[in-house]
Amino acid sequence: MIHPVSSFTSATDTALFDRLRSQAEEGILTLRVADVLPAKEAAEAHRRLAAGGVRGRLVLDFSQPL
């Protein structure tokens, strides 16, 4: 069965986010990070995503001042 969904229509569904957070904390959902880049390398991250072959999400690190 295929159900059409849009992240935009669920953007304020707090219960859904709580469920996702719990499932991540319990290890039911595994979070795959392909790589972490400094935020200033956002353009490079976009190039890598567009090139294909990235498994998991590229993450931009904003913890240090830009």
């Binding site: 304020t12 976009h46 567009a50």
Partner: protein
């Protein structure tokens, strides 16, 4: 407050460091000190102008990014008490509004999209 934004739609090179006023949470809103923002395919749609119509309501720079992990660093008035200062949170953000997206040092969000 610095962010990664774009002044015109285009290739990856349009993404640049931009200086923006420090965002202030309005009633019911909270501000997150952003630690991490994921790069999602929809960010490329945003960058290349696929969301230009809703964005036309605001002047550039436009800041992409839909998801964020960080820490609450300011509460607006009349927040419901579910979220506290210093709390680690995740949030989902629609980046076509006045607050922009998650490629930023700080972002103001409605608490309903947070956990």
């Amino acid at each position: 407050m610095k962010a990664i934004g774009l002044m015109e739609f285009g290739g990856p090179e349009v993404l640049q460091i931009v200086d923006l006023p420090e965002p202030q949470p309005g009633p019911g809103e909270v501000r997150i000190r952003v630690h991490a923002a994921a790069v999602n395919p929809t960010d490329i749609t945003f960058r290349t102008g696929g969301r230009a119509a809703p964005l036309a309501e605001w002047p550039p720079p436009y800041v992409p990014g839909v998801d964020v992990a960080g820490v609450i660093d300011q509460l607006g008035e009349a927040t419901d008490g579910r979220l506290a200062l210093g709390e680690a949170v995740i949030a989902y953000v629609i980046p076509m509004g006045p607050h922009g997206g998650t490629y930023a040092e700080q972002i103001v969000v409605e608490p309903s999209g947070e956990s």
